[in-house]
């Protein structure tokens, strides 16, 4: 689906209506039956002229509460101070992600990409209806009017939009509202014009995350989870929990995946859960250790033919390489990784008077949560509401085709008499040990170079557990057996790579796996960019020049990728190189429609501990709607990527996860990383992703810096096994 196909349909489908609402003002005072008008599903205006953008994407820090609000404000003609935001209810007919079909959800760095035209249309339609109402009242031509800073202005007249909200809704809904042209933009792409809309509530403790929900009569439920993937409850003993303060009951979940422990408060639920002894049936449990899984994955890229030949012909490539003057042959390994968002997983199911329920959740995929509740609780769609609140990070974890924690909460709720709200709380230990990891992957690459140092063959084999197979995502992303997310960034590389073949061998299910910020690019970018740096070293070529030579501008993507490299060269003063005593590593990657080049300067290396002194980043994400949000996403994406390649992994011993909490799944700390400087390439192309694309180049840029500093060439992650960090 293109971004514009639904434009007309949405405007026609958006039956403008006036509704009388009683709502809470921002200051908590009950507003006295103030009239609030839904001009269309995305624009609400109250009687005082205060505008609310209805934001269909959840806020995990990546910025849509600011970005989509910016689009409405720009087109409507209000200042950022005259507009608030609210999260959309679950309604996939109206609030679907236009790139996901009839499905409401946030992911794949698509929030701005799929909303850019839709939200501008919504704001422009509201503007034209307000203007039509004023023009009719004033007896002037609509074309003489505009809305500026919330005032309808023109023909010598001026009035606040509040005066015409009621009459605007009876105007014809414009099928093709005029969008403001870039030369008219006051907000989009303007440095300093927009501040984050979610800052205020995040610095004074007033913001509501799902963890902050509290109902006076609620039950808190924690789940005693199986220590091994696939184990089920055989029996449990709650003798010691009985009589504990606040303990209510313990029951086995209907799917036997765990024991639900109910109490009156979170702390009491934690205490009671610890007191319950569960006997597990390990018949179908994963009993292997991660060392075994690692050996299997590496064997999967070492041996014979790959299951799927996704690009080129392996025999032709092997023949080409057999005649090479020099062969670089490297095997890479990427461990399981946890997402570990700051807010542990949690949601609340609240029964309401009509016999239905409300799910309060930092809902990344409201549609899956919605459907899951209807199925588990036997309710029709209209009896389930999903109310989205702030999410304390996600990195992919809150978007799950199995809706796992919503499902747990629904099963727990179904074990009660359904009269009291049930709040599910995961601890950090649940989060680290509870599965849904970035799958482990192995790559082996053999690159053949001729006498002149030119690439004549690139034999690339990948093995890992598919993220998409067996999920609702399979029809969209798996084609001819190939899970595109396993090979993205290699098989579709932007570079000119002569004689390239790419083979994929799926690894049998070892753990529950899930996309993790930047999905397949978490490993594919590391391999591609490490290999290219090794080629540059081997051929004594400048690593930036080598990359540019592989991007001769034969496609728009090659031109844009070269563009970010050149921007990075300028930003980092590439020719002068790293400061004295430091070494610089480079990487560039294309993901989620965007192009990002990064350079990492490190001190140390060789015998000295490595310290990340500075990171440079150049990004081309099309039109930069909110430049400072984009910079923040690059900074965060870099930190997220670097922290994990440095020292994080989830390992299994006889099927049990070894790590338990942050002390042994150590997050990146402030002292680990120096300043990050970001430059945005000016562009008139449609906006593309920013939440994920900053992550892929960060790991290989660090690896390349360490190798150039005289440290090891790390191909087996995490780095901590081979590299000492300061």
């Amino acid at each position: 689906m293109t971004l514009t196909t639904s434009r007309r349909r949405f405007l026609q489908g958006a039956a403008a209506s006036t509704v009388l609402l009683v709502g809470m003002r921002a200051n908590g005072v009950m507003a006295a039956a103030s009239e609030t008008t839904d001009i269309n599903p995305f624009v609400r205006i109250d009687a005082t002229g205060r505008v609310t953008a209805i934001v269909k994407h959840f806020e995990m820090g990546q910025g849509p509460s600011t970005g989509l609000t910016t689009l409405i404000a720009e087109e409507l003609g209000v200042t950022m101070d005259q507009i608030d935001y609210d999260f959309a209810p679950s309604n996939p007919q109206v609030y679907n992600n236009l790139l996901f079909g009839t499905f409401q959800g946030t992911g794949g760095s698509t929030a701005m990409a799929n909303s850019f035209v839709q939200y501008r249309n919504a704001g422009a339609a509201a503007r034209e209806m307000l203007i039509a109402a004023a023009a009719s009242d004033w007896g002037v031509d609509e074309s003489t009017l505009d809305i500026v800073a919330g005032q309808i202005t023109g023909g010598g007249k001026s009035a606040p939009i509040a005066d015409f909200v009621a009459s605007a809704v009876s105007q014809d809904v414009p099928a093709e509202p005029r969008l403001r042209t870039p030369d008219e933009w006051r907000l989009i792409g303007k440095e300093g014009a927009v501040k984050r809309k979610d800052t205020a509530v995040k610095i004074d403790g007033s913001g509501t995350f799902a963890m902050d929900f509290h109902f006076d009569n609620q039950l808190v439920v924690m789940i005693a989870h199986a220590p091994r993937m696939g184990a089920v409850v055989k029996s449990f003993d709650d003798t010691d929990a009985k009589g504990m303060t606040g303990f209510e009951m313990a029951k086995t979940l209907p799917d036997n995946s765990g024991v639900a422990v109910f109490a009156d408060t979170t702390w009491n639920a934690m205490q009671a859960r610890d007191a319950i002894v569960v006997e597990w049936d390990n018949t179908n449990a994963e009993m292997r250790s991660s060392d075994t899984i690692r050996d299997e994955l590496i064997a999967g890229v070492e041996m014979g033919e790959a299951t799927y030949q996704t690009r080129g012909d392996q025999i032709d490539t092997a023949n080409a390489i057999s005649g090479a003057a020099k062969v670089i042959d490297k095997t890479f390994y990427f461990p399981l990784l946890a997402h570990a968002p700051m807010e542990p997983l949690t949601c609340t199911i609240e029964p309401i008077a009509d016999g239905g329920v409300v799910l309060h959740d930092g809902a990344q995929f409201p549609t899956f949560g919605h459907m899951t509740l209807t199925q588990v609780l036997g309710l029709p769609m209209e009896k389930v509401q999903v109310k989205t609140v702030l999410a304390g990070g996600s990195f992919g974890r809150r978007a799950n085709p199995t809706a796992d924690y919503n499902l747990e909460c629904a099963m727990a709720f179904a074990l009660t008499d359904r009269s009291r709200p049930v709040k599910l709380v995961w601890s950090r230990d649940d989060d680290i040990r509870g599965g849904y990891y970035r799958p482990a992957f192995a790559h082996r690459v053999r690159v053949g170079l001729d006498e002149a140092g030119q690439i004549i063959g690139w034999d690339h084999r990948i093995s890992g557990q598919s993220i998409m197979k067996g999920t609702a995502m399979e029809p969209m992303i798996v084609h001819d057996g190939v899970d595109h997310s396993s090979i993205e960034g290699v098989a579709d590389t932007v570079y000119n790579v002569p004689g390239m073949s790419v083979g994929l061998t799926d690894h049998a299910k070892a753990t529950s796996v899930l996309w993790w910020r930047s999905v397949g690019h978490t490993h594919t970018a590391f391999v591609m960019e490490s290999m290219i740096d090794m080629i540059a070293s081997e051929t004594d070529t400048d690593p930036l020049e080598l990359r540019l030579s592989m991007l001769p501008g034969k496609t728009p993507a090659q031109t844009r990728m070269a563009g970010v490299l050149n921007k990075l060269a300028e930003l980092s003063n590439w020719k002068a190189g790293a400061p004295d005593g430091q070494s610089r590593g480079l990487a560039v990657h294309h993901s989620f429609g965007s192009f990002v080049a990064e350079a990492v300067d490190v001190s140390g290396g060789g015998d000295d501990a490595v310290k990340i002194e500075k990171v440079y980043c150049a990004v081309d994400c099309g039109i930069a709607v909110n430049p400072d949000v984009i910079r923040a996403q690059m900074e965060g994406g870099i930190g997220f990527g670097i922290g994990h390649v440095m020292r994080d992994q989830i390992t299994l011993t006889d099927g049990e996860v070894d790590q338990t909490n942050f002390p042994d799944y150590e997050p990146l700390r402030i002292s680990d990383i120096g300043a990050i400087e970001v430059a945005i390439v000016a562009s008139a192309d449609a906006p593309t992703g920013v939440g994920e694309p900053g992550t892929p180049p960060s790991g290989p840029a660090l690896a390349n810096a360490i190798a150039r500093a005289g440290g090891p060439r790390v191909t087996m992650l995490p780095m901590i096994d081979e590299v000492e960090f300061a």
Partner: protein, 154 residues
């Protein structure tokens, strides 16, 4: 048993049993949710409050140990001179992303500025080490502390 605690300048009573972390008294009993639960083992700093002005992890501070001391949470920071400066700096620089760790970051930043009016980048790193941010807003936190120092100096 009922205990009296001094929190944000007020006296409040709690029935929490010995061994109950202060975090859960604040969140579950007092329904003040600005102080966050992140790890429960004093490893992430999301639950940071001030005990007699000193940043302290409330998830590993027990109710029986805080009788008679001054407990301060994020909810009181706008009325604190340093707290208000830090909040202003955080706003100017748009430090937050998901925001879940930021209450704790701000409580630690205020503690730092109370004892060091003009911290260097290295001093900030050393002091703030225990406050994890999975969104990695670290460079803005660093800049935010230094900006708050400027605001306070002016």
């Amino acid at each position: 048993m009922t205990r009296e605690l001094k929190l944000n300048g007020q006296t409040i009573s709690t029935n929490a049993q010995d061994g109950t972390p202060l975090l859960w008294v604040i969140r579950d009993e007092l329904k003040m949710t600005g102080t966050k639960f992140g790890c429960g083992v004093a490893s992430c700093g999301a639950c940071t409050v001030h005990i007699d002005g000193e940043p302290t992890r409330s998830c590993q501070t027990f109710v029986e140990d805080v009788e008679g001391v001054e407990i301060t949470t994020i909810e009181a920071m706008s009325k604190d001179k340093i707290g208000a400066a830090v909040q202003q700096a955080w706003t100017e620089l748009d430090v937050v992303q998901c925001g879940y760790c930021q209450s704790g970051q701000i409580m630690s930043a205020v503690g730092l500025l109370a004892e060091n009016k003009k911290p260097t980048a290295d001093e900030i790193d050393e002091y703030m080490w225990g406050n994890a941010c999975r969104c990695a807003t670290y460079q803005r936190i660093r800049a935010g502390v230094q900006r708050a120092a400027e605001i306070l100096e002016a």
